[in-house]
């Protein structure tokens, strides 16, 4: 967000402007910020959360004129309570759980200033996406996703007439072993798709109910997209000459673009009507 946007928000005719409040709250939550920065710096997680944070600030900047003058005290109280809770949790809970509470605290404070017709769910989604999730999702959810992807790919390749079978998260295709390892799970694609959905919903001011009803489609699209991507790559990898790294990258990007296009299509379907409902 540009400095002009910050100064505009900070100059609202209240004693403590929303940006000032959020800045102070963020300062109180600094241990979580320091942890997230450390994770980004030491390479233990992809710094994608920064993109979600930037998108959130941009959307807030676009909506700065619609922010409430007097904050909703219930949300504010929730923000305060969650801030205290997240900091206290540092003594007993894992850092990611504490950071989740901190994100919820900031999200609650944000809600206090948002007008009732704001796309709160989409903005809350961006707040959550700002957390360093990728490595943890890979760790906890990666394996089942890989098994599902490998099995679906095996069926798909069998339909295409190839000798394909799955063993754990590995596939034997035409006698060639190909592994569906952590970077193949589709977790990153899922993050991208959710980010895309939240950003588009935020831009279009999609109502929360509409956004939440369409969210499950995102999971289905990602799963299908990743299975197709994986199947194509496995089939090409099983050839004697293998597949060049650039082709890998290119096919992956095309698959991601198609998935995100589908997400945009789902989020914008009937938007003129839905957004006004």
């Amino acid at each position: 967000m540009s400095s002009a946007v910050v100064s505009t928000i900070a100059c609202r005719p209240t004693h403590l402007a929303p940006a000032g409040w959020l800045a102070l709250q963020a300062a109180a939550l600094w241990p979580h910020g320091a942890w997230m920065a450390a994770r980004v710096q030491d390479g233990s997680d992809a710094p994608l959360g920064l993109a979600a944070l930037a998108a959130l600030l941009m959307l807030l900047g676009l909506r700065r004129h619609t922010l409430r003058i007097a904050p909703h005290t219930g949300w504010l109280a929730a923000g305060v309570a969650l801030t205290l809770l997240s900091n206290a949790a540092l003594l007993v809970a894992p850092p990611l759980a504490c950071a989740l509470l901190a994100a919820l605290a900031l999200g609650a404070a944000l809600m206090a200033w948002l007008p009732t017709d704001a796309p709160r769910a989409a903005l809350a989604g961006l707040v959550l996406l700002a957390l360093p999730w990728i490595a943890s999702l890979q760790y906890y959810g990666g394996y089942p996703l890989r098994v599902v992807t490998a099995q679906a790919s095996a069926w798909l390749l069998q339909l295409a007439g190839l000798a394909a079978e799955r063993s754990g998260t590995a596939m034997l295709v035409q006698g060639q072993l190909v592994i569906v390892d952590a970077p193949c799970s589709g977790v990153q694609m899922a993050w991208m798709a959710w980010f895309c959905a939240c950003a588009v919903a935020g831009l279009l001011a999609l109502r929360d109910g509409v956004f939440l009803r369409r969210l499950p489609w995102i999971g289905a699209i990602v799963l299908a997209g990743n299975v197709l991507r994986n199947s194509l790559l496995v089939a090409l990898e099983a050839r004697p000459q293998g597949l060049a790294a650039s082709m890998h990258e290119g096919i992956g990007l095309i698959a991601l673009a198609l998935v995100c296009a589908a997400v945009v299509a789902v989020m914008t379907r009937g938007v003129r009507h839905e957004a006004r409902c």
Partner: protein
């Protein structure tokens, strides 16, 4: 204006009124105080690495707490005394703690594959603690107890016959702890040339984690990055006490300064100014020109009840003569192209293979299997060694870049499954650096499934896992070779060719006339392995009665039958090392048996030998405990990082984008930033169309 009744703090009232300006400032101040309190309470010093999940494979060391001395091993000093075929080695490791907190130093270091480690002592503050040999679990419990009680304790364990782990607990700030190890080993000549090897570094071993189905255990080793030299000093001194003059002293690995060459009391010093401990130290020499210190050496026990007498026979084979007719053979080359082979090791392997394959006869046939995470066969069946096929094979090998994991067991299983014609002799030639942890699986596989072939193993690189290379050769009735650099490839390839074409002695048997011998190594004297490549026949055992008679060795050589008669000499009082060497040989034989059977069926026998002969084994460890309680503060574990062996790249550990396991093709998602650009472009497009909606 009506006042709201109730608690003073607005957030506690119901309904909650809007906060006043001063209320908001108050809340902000409270947050700031809370944050300050946390900043005081939350210190990195409170982080406990002990709670972190343990790594299973090699990893790169990262800088941590500055109050901790992360490099406690300051120096390693090696003194070698070479007398005949026996080397007595003293290794002194000096640990100091220049940090502010007590530490437990953990150091994984290599040893010779034949080392019989028989003693250890610790010097601490002017005192000397003599280590005792104990059963492994018992020693661990004693060490743990001492560590918790704040006593300084040193525990030496064997991870592999050539890899050891030293744990020194409770090294206090300012402490200077010196740990001395003593081992002895047999230095056997090949074609009259002796080779003494002192490995200085353990290469990063590819390890399949338990969660991925791996069953082997190996300590996770911390490594420095490629090009980063160890800050631990290394020095080595060799002095000979030989009855024969020592000549042709050379080292292809280190700069040395030799004095007294041509006498029996030669001395060797290291003169390298740079890194010395990132590769094996290899010293070659001859004794009195072509002569070797062979014969029959006897040692008589001290005469007490239960004392035993030992002997060692080293008999030089006759010179090899090329036979008139050479039968066609089938060669299968199994080549490691994993991440640890990237760079110089693979260049050496390529030079070797160009020599090996390029010199095949037209009547021979061959095939090549390249393996890392997966394997790739040059052709479905062996092809004749025609010029076209040889050039095609060399072109395929030249394309290999080196990357990924080292799945050697599936590769060898694939070889074992190859159909073999009954009338064609097959030689399997394995080319690898040996950086794996599945040695026992490999030995069992070779022994069970490749019994109808001769298996030769070439260790490639500056710090080869000789345990694997020698074990494969032993299991496959072949020979081990080490090629440290491309310039040496041609000579080793030629040595193999000669060896396969003309084994020196076959149908070998031995007998002792007039001397009562027992507990022999090898166990049977009537079916000794063929002698290949100019290595002498080595027989060890015990004797009783009077030292008289002779050893008779009979076999078939190229020119007819061959008989060697070695008379029994008077016992040598200086040959006490034969005791440990015999026990070491017996332990190796039991370990081979255990590897073949799987499990730990020889645990009791090996433990008994270790305890009786005071030897470090896989089931016995050395432990030295100081009885003085020196600290009440918990010692922080510190893993001494190891340099990467010379020529080995970061890919061996999995750095620089070359993940371990990546050589099995996989289907990773595209890069995060590129993906984000694609998504932002799509969101941007959606934004651009917004005005139309």
């Amino acid at each position: 204006m009506r006042r709201v009744r109730g608690p003073v703090f607005p957030l506690l009232r119901h309904p909650v009124p809007p906060l006043s300006a001063s209320g908001r400032v108050l809340v902000a101040v409270l947050f700031a105080i809370w944050a300050f309190a946390l900043s005081v309470a939350w210190s990195p010093a409170l982080a406990d690495d002990g709670e972190a999940l343990k790594a299973e494979g090699p990893y790169f060391a990262v800088a941590g707490d500055p109050s901790l001395d992360a490099l406690p091993l300051k120096s390693t000093k090696v003194d070698v005394r070479l007398a005949g075929v026996i080397a007595d080695v003293t290794v002194t490791q000096r640990y100091t703690n220049e940090g502010q907190r007590p530490i437990e130093a953990r150091y994984v270091f290599p040893g010779s594959t034949h080392a019989a480690v028989h003693a250890m002592q610790v010097r601490l503050g002017g005192r000397v603690l003599h280590a005792q040999i104990e059963e492994k679990q018992r020693a661990r419990i004693r060490h743990e107890t001492a560590r918790r009680e704040g006593k300084t304790s040193a525990l030496l364990e064997q991870e592999r016959p050539n890899v050891f782990q030293m744990n020194v607990a409770n090294i206090l700030p300012g402490d200077d702890v010196q740990v001395e190890l003593h081992y002895t080993e047999l230095v056997v000549p090949t074609e009259g040339r002796y080779e003494f090897v002192f490995p200085t570094v353990v290469g990063p071993r590819y390890h399949r984690s338990a969660s991925a189905g791996g069953t082997s255990r190996f300590p996770a080793t911390a490594h420095l990055k490629e090009g980063e030299a160890s800050r631990s000093a290394f020095d080595l001194h060799v002095h000979f006490a030989s009855p024969l003059p020592v000549s042709e002293l050379r080292s292809a690995t280190h700069g040395i300064e030799v004095s007294g060459e041509g006498t029996g009391a030669a001395e060797v010093e290291l003169v390298d100014a740079g890194a010395r401990n990132d590769r094996d130290f290899i010293l070659t020499y001859r004794l009195a020109g072509e002569r070797t210190a062979t014969g029959l050496t006897l040692f008589r026990g001290d005469g007490s009840a239960g004392a035993e007498n030992f002997f060692l026979a080293v008999v030089e084979p006759p010179k090899a003569i090329a036979p008139a007719q050479i039968n066609p053979r089938e060669y299968v080359f199994v080549v490691d192209i994993s991440g640890s082979m990237h760079g110089q090791p693979l260049a050496t392997a390529k030079a070797l293979l160009r020599n090996l394959i390029g010199n095949l006869r037209q009547s021979d046939s061959f095939n090549v299997l390249l393996f890392s995470g997966s394997s790739q066969m040059l052709s479905a069946a062996p092809v004749p060694a025609t010029r076209v096929n040889i050039e095609r094979a060399i072109a395929v090998i030249d394309q290999a870049r080196g990357g990924g994991s080292t799945e050697i067991v599936p590769a060898l299983k694939r070889i074992a499954a190859l159909p073999k014609a009954a009338d064609v002799a097959r030689s399997v030639i394995v080319v690898t650096d040996g950086y794996v942890t599945v040695e026992n699986e490999v030995f069992a596989l070779v022994r069970r499934n490749l019994g109808n072939s001769n298996v030769f193993a070439f260790g490639i690189g500056s710090s080869v896992n000789r345990h694997l290379i020698e074990g494969i050769a032993r299991a496959g009735q072949g020979e081990p070779f080490i090629v440290t650099k491309p310039e040496l490839a041609a000579a080793q390839a030629e040595r193999l060719r000669k060896m396969i074409d003309s084994p020196v002695l076959t149908h070998l048997q031995a007998r002792f006339d007039g001397l009562e011998v027992y507990d022999l190594e090898p166990a049977s004297l009537t079916a000794l392995p063929d002698v290949l490549g100019g290595r002498p026949v080595v027989i060890q055992g015990k004797w009783r009665g009077e030292p008289r008679g002779q050893l008779v060795l009979e076999g078939r050589a190229a020119q007819g039958s061959h008989v060697d008669v070695v008379p029994v000499a008077a016992p040598d009082v200086q040959a006490g090392a034969l005791r440990q060497l015999w026990a070491r040989s017996r332990i190796q034989q039991l370990s081979d048996q255990e590897a073949l059977e799987g499990g730990s069926g020889q645990r009791e026998a090996i433990t008994a030998l270790g305890l009786r002969y005071s030897l470090l084994t896989q089931y016995t460890s050395f432990i030295a405990v100081d009885e003085i309680v020196r600290t009440s503060e918990a010692a922080v574990p510190v893993n001494q990082p190891l340099p990467l062996p010379q020529g080995v790249s970061n890919l061996a550990v999995g750095g620089d984008g070359g993940e371990v396991g990546a050589a099995v093709p996989s289907t990773p998602e595209p890069g995060a930033w590129l993906s984000l650009l694609v998504v932002l472009a799509l969101v941007g497009a959606a934004l651009a169309k917004r005005s139309n909606w």
